[in-house]
Structure formats: C-alpha cells, structure tokens
Amino acid sequence: MSNRAIPATYATRLGDNALVLGQRMIELVAASPELEEELANANFSLDYIGQARMFYTYAAECEGGGRTEDDFAFLRPEHEYRNLLLVEQPNGHFGDSTVRALLFESWYVLLLESLTQCADEGIAAIAARAIKEVRYHLRHSSQWLVRLGDGTEESHARVQASLDKLWCFTGEMFVADELDDAMLNEFNGPDLAAIELQWQKNVAAFVAEAKLEQPDDQWMASGGKQGKHTEHFGFLLAEMQHLQRVYPGAEW
C-alpha cells in the first residue's frame, strides 16, 4: 500500500462505523420512549453522520480520484463496507440499542483518543473533533445501562439478555488486521491490544455498577473489517441507498 492509501482506507473504515451506527440511530427517530430520548438519539445520529462525512471527505482527498462523500455512502456495495458487525446489529428494544451504543462507544472513545496522537494530521484532526462528542454519548449510554440494569426486575433481565446477545460482536474490535498494523507501525496509530485491556476494565466497571453480569469468554463473530457482514446489513444499505440507486446523482 502506498503511504497515502493507508490513511485513505483507514478513514473509510472509521467513516463506515460512524455512518452505519448513525443510520441505525436514524431508524429510531420518532420511536423513542420519551421526548428527551428522542432529542438525544437524533443528536447522536447527527454527530455520527457528521463524523462519517468528515472521514469520507478526507479519504476522498487522500485518494485524489475525484470521489465524494456521497460516493462512499451511497454507491458502495455491502462487501466494500468495513464497519464492525456490532454497529450494524438491529435496534431491537431500547436495552439492545443502549448496550450496542455502550459497547461500541467504550471502544470508540479509546480509539479516537489514540488517533488524536497519530501521525496522520487529517485523521488526528477529525478524531479531536469527534472525541468530544463521543465522550458525551458514552456518558449517556452508560447512565442508561445503570438505570436499566439497576432498575426493575424486568429491565434488569432484558438488558442482561441484550448484553449476552451482543457480547459476541465485541471480539473483532481488538483483532488487528493488516491495516491496523500499518496504521500502528507507520502512523503511530492505535494499539488494539492496549485498548482491549482498558476497554475490559472500563466495561467491567459499567457492568458492575449496573448490577449486571459480564458474559463469559465465548466464541466471537468477526468479518466486518473484511467486508463479510451479518444478514441484517443488506437491509440497512437497501434502505439507505435506495434513492441514489433508483435516481443516480439525485440532489436536493
């Protein structure tokens, strides 16, 4: 890979995580349990989609091939998306989407923290912008985890089931592939092993405070970083890309 190709591909992957989670949250607009959550959720999706736009625009700039942020979002097929499997999981009930956000954001905050120090100035600048938002998101998702876990018998049981169900998607966050290694070695990028240790500690603290049980070590799903997605992802893309697929180049 050429030197410029590494940040381009890496920024695309970061954009994919942000866009897919942002799109999942958009699906929840007008479906939140209360008005405050409605506002919170809509604000979060705006942040994530804004981050995705910055990452894609930067990736296009690195490539220098004339692609735009829209080409990345709307014209790539499923296997070209490199987001984590966790973020594409369906919203389920409120406990499911809370746990999904908490597990991802606990990791994303650490990743962004490290990226603000990386040698690629473009990615470092976007990370510095994004981390301020994601810290706020994590505060929100962790507060809800505690409220649900330490809430009623019903909410406790349901959020525990969410945690058990989604846990198998956390493994691939820490499995470094060729691109992660290239970012680490050539651009002083994130060390996923160090992030894993910190993540384990932080998540264990949230789980304990919420009076939940951390799931046992188990088989972990992976494939997102290689473009092999779960069956839910195609439906998400079909909805998100519908307009550009049917009316190519449509603008408003």
């Binding site: 405050e36 919170a40 942040d47 910055m54 912008r129 706020y136 505060r139 929100h140």
Partner: protein
C-alpha cells in the same frame, strides 16, 4: 483590471455582522468559529465547525460568501479548519452576555452551577442533557420555575 485588495480587519468587521442561523442573537465572530481571514489571494475565510453533524455549518458558509459578495468582494473562498477543534471557550465575552439576555445560559465549567438566565439563581436542575439543537441542554430554575436552555460546555 485592477483587483481590490482588502484588509483582513475590514473583512472581519463585515463577518462580525453575520448571524448564526440557529442562535441569531450571536454572530459567527461571537461564536469564535472564524479562525482566520487571508486576503493575499482573493479572500479566504477559515471557519471551524462547532459539532461534526451541525446542520448549520453549510448555511454559515453560504452566508459568509453572501455577506462578502454583498460588499463587492468577488473572490471568496471558504476553508474548513478542523484542528484545533472548536471549544465553547472561544465564545466571546460579548457573546456570553448576548446569550444570557436571549434566555440561554452560557457554558460553564463542570464544577460551577448553571445560573438561571432570568433570575440569576444557581438553584437550577438539569431536565435533559439534550435540547433543541446539538449544542444545548434543557434546564429549569427551581426558584423562578422558568425552563431554559443551557449552551453545553464543549
């Protein structure tokens, strides 16, 4: 053809009249998002976005171009600057006053209470960490009972 060369102070003065589209009592210079004006080759205005997904970013860029064109500046370019990231510390003292008069509590450090913009009481309570825009939270004053918005510290 003689090209007019502008002074950056003059451009800044004009920019200080461009309102923020979401909080129109504030101008973009009150907000602290104008990072630089470069008049060496046409006019390049460097702006920094507040939040990543702030829908006002593009509207602000368009109104900067329009404001300068109205004054006869033809060659206007906008540069988006991400680093250093915008912080609410860059809101000017004047901007903070205008916010308070408008009914929005200006950003405070975490360890300080948020004062009610109407009665100035510190006896206030957060209703929701979110408000009508990404940058605000919803509060209420326990003393005068007014609900109000708080510009979050970022």
């Amino acid at each position: 053809m003689v090209e007019t060369v502008y002074e950056s102070d003059q451009i800044m003065e004009w920019l200080s009249q461009v309102p923020d589209p979401e909080i129109p009592v504030l101008t973009i210079t009150d907000l602290g998002i104008v990072r630089d004006v470069d008049c060496s080759n046409g006019v390049t205005v460097s702006l920094t976005p507040t939040y990543s997904g702030c829908p006002a970013t593009e509207a602000i860029e368009a109104s900067v171009v329009a404001a300068l064109e109205d004054r006869g500046v033809s060659d206007v370019r906008i540069k988006r600057v991400l680093s250093p990231a915008w912080t609410t510390d860059w809101i000017s003292e004047d901007g903070r006053k205008k916010l308070r008069v408008y009914g929005i509590a200006p950003p405070e450090r975490r360890d300080r209470p948020v004062a009610c913009p109407r009665c100035d009481s510190s006896n206030t309570q957060v209703v929701s960490e979110f408000g009508s825009t990404a940058c605000k939270a919803s509060y209420r004053c326990i003393d005068c009972l007014e609900p109000f918005e708080y510009f979050k510290c970022l």
